[in-house]
Symmetry: D2
């Protein structure tokens, strides 16, 4: 977050536009009465919605857009997904594909719905998907799964930490049982213990069936903590159900190195003719790019090295009722490109943090379920297949963008400059 | 991504359900003819949409949801934002607030529209916003801004790398001029050069006005590269307009340490009475949490340390037509809590990677613009204020969740277990 | 490694001193005959040493220093530790302490030998050690141990990777047996498997008795690899006994998050009176420092957060015949300071990567063994105790430096400026 | 630092050997009188040394080794480098080379003295050095230099932080002047400012001439802080001369991404015949290794990606009187290997954190200066050349180890298992 002194001097001058000190005076607390709070909580009645739109300053034109007739008609569908409801935003959806997936769980040719407001995104992913499909599809496999919650316990001394850990490490079966009382779908499957002086962090890893499962694991973890506090031979001074070691809603090296949600690999071998015919480049150029780009990632301190998983994942997540905040944790992994002796390209992606589900969360909402049904993956029994499609999609995006970056960029650049526009995919 | 040998043995047994080898046989390429590609590109005519829905396997029920009348009626509005259009998904929106912001650019009490499918999210952020407002509001300041694109150049030798860098470092004015010919709103404001053997990476930093600006900087960078290739005393063997050092669409330590989009800090001092009355906890408990949680973040290898910026940012971004994929890069930063001698709490967040805009991208779409208008921040001149509101929102979320984590969690846990439900915010 | 364009322009101008292009011409290969290679390999005869000193350009004065009489007399002692031997360097040793350690393995008051050429280092560590001792000593506990080697296997396809992992995950006992045939002291105790497309990385974790054990684990790993290649149902295209996932000789987040060598925590509670009397500061000031400094570490992207473990560890390692290159991996961890209600200070350090041993490597050399004997920790049965002393030493160093940084620095700074010198510890 | 629950259960059982609870009882403070502190401070008189050896428990045999006649005779040489002096340790030195360096500053064929206790290290580096030399030498260039110290200032509010930064960013000339009064050799050359709520971190970057310069920059920074506190329009509540953003004595992503000490790149092209003849492998196998190994580094979360810089650097630093603790920060960087169309190998290393000097610190000690004189690089005017030799040495080590890892390892492994020994280099 460091800023070069010359840059900040310039910036503050420009951003504060000469207003300097007075501008900073605005940063003081103001204690005049604020307008009233948003009324109504999780109520979805017409009145409660009306009351919200009556708050000071909300434009009637906004209401006409968000609280349209269709939305108002189906508003009960949102009862378990939102509070202080005022309507819906409409996000445009494009179809990419078909994407042929040869997965341990997903097997088929998928038209993938992507909800995005960014031009060229669907076109670029679709191009990659078609390339994969023409190459015979991508192999995909879920390699592990688990969702972590990580309570923290503060003891008086290191000795107590060690005593607690010794006890906990031998109490796994009891903890699993305590968790099992809170959920039918969740199951405690693993545990890691971290002593840091008189603090102990516990990473509890759960299987969550076809749900993303973040609430499920919180409730189960509370039950485990209750059991621990009751039965441990030493008692914590204080403790928290989560002490920031779970990787929830953030990219972390720990989640990257283990698993969060599903870990999936996808690979494809693209023949030389397809690379030339469809991407107008060569496997060698793409491998040259990959070598430079991996080090670019290393030198910019990314977690893993990849191109732009976030683009496809965000669009897929919004379309299919996934938790869009999980893009923060899901968009990490490793992309690898290698040349083959016959001029073909080996390409693989590995995404260890795909927090996805096909039941629960937003998956039941009208349009979101409709998108899952386009994939044929709505409801129970489909979460693993969905994660394999997501990995295949990420692979498609990497192929397309690296193809674009290595194909005739120089000429194209000139053309663009001339025309001021371009239909071909760009780093988005 | 490493998996413990016992865990993977268990997992593969369970995931492959005893099918073992046969299951792996599915990972082979299949060369039977795939179904046809999605037709029509960026066309938004009724016919093109019809043709897409006629693809094999797309359910009519999905069409009824996505291609509803309103969507079809306004479909031309999506022309510059999507390809292979088939309709829209509706994401529910809740209002949080009011959130009082005392910013260098944003000054007012904001009702913040949040689009999410995750229960409790709006309630939790709204609780935090009200707390801030009752405390007099949060001070906010944009501290820097810039969007980077990072071309890479491969030379024959280290000597050529050095010669190129020597030339480039003295050609800033010319590069700025070359960039300036491609954009009215963008401006090259800084440059960093990285020699890695015979490779040179160039980080070009642009101001982008009120737009998020990612396309703008790509076009400007192509112009700069064209200039470099033409005028440099040494010629690259190959080069790419982006070699993965820009931090685009990913969390990177480099972006965290510098800026990507806007860098904003927000702070508030919450009196003891409010902490007790509204959060049912104390500043000391929250600071104890913060100390443990910062180290939890460190021990899980996060970039920066914070709780769950991604939740609020994703919901705000979707509501307001921001690029949702940028959650991957935006959701990093530093949260700090300190006790005050009078029992109050000092809380601050700093988010260095807020890629946001109030013009361009999805900000012009019907419902997205409606959300910006709720904030009073649609269109030119509002990007900095919007980023300050985003930082204030992140602060609200941190206060609410840490409040929840430190307040009577144990009892509450029991109640929840009994009732199987809870209205109070949980780590989401 | 990025450099600001203005800075590199300045730097190249100054460093190349106007010689510019000609200077770069020096970066070309030169093919004239080089002088002869260093003769004699691992021979330690007088003739072989003589022959080395007869190489062109070696000063006689250097020989007089390095190949002194004592060194020449004991040269056979170095037979298993060096090649191309020409003598010894003498590194000065100071004693710190006594350091009272109340450890699970180390229990006593230790005078700690530190070999360093950096002024103030021994004084600073000794001050911290005395403080700990006056406070009743530090609690220490080894929490885990293990040394990893990480072979990598390249297969044809992802399917083969999965098949290999499925097989390997069920073959632990056989792998352990294969390893066991190569070593009496080493034991395979754990294994992690990472699939990345058609690559599989295997992290093998060994216990190594009282030796640091890096060679031992390499030999055992070769045996495991041989077994794998012979018995696996699928055969790698190629493989390597180490593919850079072991953390050997480098700071990695993986090693920080697990263990490399020994993981040890040490803690102490220092009463207010001692903090004032010995450090001339307060627990509160030290905790204020810690809070800022933890975030300083986070914002500089360190692995873990600590002050200067490397100083004490490097000096201890050189004195005691440890592998000094392991400072790169050992000098990571977490330091935590908290105030107590009575004005005391709780301080803890946790070092997860202490690669140390009391047998093998340099521990048998004359002066190095003499240093281990000062500690009473030479030879078998002492490695865990040695690691606890190392952690206690690190704690001493953190207390001393943070004490110095928080105590009257401002006044002292002025005095120093006046006198141009200072006896008090500075960040070294 | 997390430990799998089964592993810790096993480990605690084994490490505590069934003593369990009693063992933990040892972790209590003990308040019996400790033995006396080490007497004499920085005195080097015979009496003071005598007094130290008279401490309880120090073996006479240790004294005979450390306080040998030569050491006692030259003890005054150590006056500015050690406190509580009791003698010296002798570290064996081997010569590697010759290493041909074609650098911007170093130009010649160097015999490189390496002090280590690790078998095979000198042999391996020497093998790599000879390979480089036969290939015509390595090109080397210092690309940047600078040593950072990073004070931190705590203000009351964010507004004050911004006001301070605005002032500081326009006061560079005055700060440079304040620093200049404290040192002839040091010069403030750059500054970065980081606002994090009401905290401001300042990264001050200095040129330090031919010294490593860490003390010099501390003193200069104290002068700058004094100036800031006196002249700033807002006054900090407290501040520290270093708040852990300098990267001092630790690997950090910030230092890796910028510079600490010297940033140097070194490269060589090795013809196919040499790779085969000397390393018994091929460029392709080495590039295959590099591709896997780079991702191994990424997946283990290293800072940069490289093999084992620490081995060569630690041995060079100890031999030449550098600060051995700086291995922690110096041993990071990027190694890159590429095949050439003619079967040759392009290899490059880039080390951005070479904290080295040829004056000050340990460089004046008898044997350490003797080692610098072997290189012809003792005293003023040689620091840049020394850093280029260090980078060339790192390159030699990477070539040698990757050669070993890719050459006939399988067969060799069997032979080793049979013979129980090996002369060829292993990952050390």
């Amino acid at each position: 977050m460091a800023i070069h002194y010359r840059r900040i001097a310039d910036y503050l001058r420009s951003a504060l536009a000469g207003r300097g000190p007075e501008q900073l005076a605005r940063l003081q607390p103001r204690h005049d009465a604020p307008p009233r709070r948003v009324p109504g909580g999780s109520a979805l009645t017409e009145e409660s919605i009306e009351a919200r739109w009556a708050l000071p300053g909300l434009p009637g034109s906004s209401r006409a857009q968000l609280a349209d007739e269709r939305t108002m008609g189906e508003r009960d569908a949102y009862a378990r997904n939102i509070e202080n409801f005022i309507g819906t935003v409409r996000v445009p959806v494009g179809l990419a594909g078909p994407l042929r997936v040869n997965g341990a769980h997903a097997l088929g040719d998928y038209y993938v719905p992507l909800a995005t407001t960014e031009a060229a995104l669907v076109a670029s992913y679709s191009r990659g998907a078609l390339l994969i499909t023409e190459a015979g599809g991508c192999a995909c496999a879920v390699l592990n799964e688990g969702v972590t919650r990580a309570p923290g316990f503060a003891f008086a001394t290191l000795g107590e930490s060690v005593a607690f850990v010794a006890w906990a490490s031998m109490s796994f079966a009891a903890l699993k049982e305590a968790a099992g009382k809170t959920t039918r779908h969740g199951e405690l499957v693993d545990m890691q213990l971290t002593v840091e002086g008189n603090h102990v962090h516990v990473q509890l890893e759960f299987m969550t069936g076809d749900a993303a499962g973040q609430n499920m694991v919180t409730i189960a973890t509370e039950a485990i903590c209750a059991y621990m506090v009751e039965h441990s031979p030493v008692h914590p001074r204080y403790w928290f159900v989560e002490a920031n070691m779970s990787g929830d809603k953030k990219a972390t090296t720990h989640s990257f190195m283990t698993v969060r949600g599903k870990k999936v690999s996808a690979e494809v071998v693209v023949p030389a003719a397809l690379i030339e015919g469809r991407l107008h480049t060569t496997a060698r150029a793409m491998a040259d790019y990959a070598r430079m780009s991996v080090l670019g990632g290393v030198m910019s301190g990314s977690i893993g090295v990849q191109g732009h998983y976030a683009n496809g994942l965000a669009a897929l997540f919004i379309a299919c009722g996934q938790d869009a905040a999980c893009v923060a944790e899901a968009a990490v992994g490793v992309t690898r490109f290698e040349t083959r002796d016959d001029g073909g390209l080996y390409a693989a992606v590995t995404l260890p943090n795909l927090i996805v589900g096909t039941v629960g969360g937003g998956t039941q909402l009208p349009t979101q379920r409709a998108c899952l049904e386009i994939l044929g993956l709505a409801g129970s029994g489909h979460a693993r297949a969905f994660s394999e499609v997501a990995a295949g999609l990420a692979l498609a995006g990497e192929l397309s963008i690296i193809g674009a970056l290595t194909a005739g960029h120089f000429t194209r650049a000139h053309q663009r400059l001339a025309r001021g526009t371009s239909a071909s995919p760009r780093p988005a």
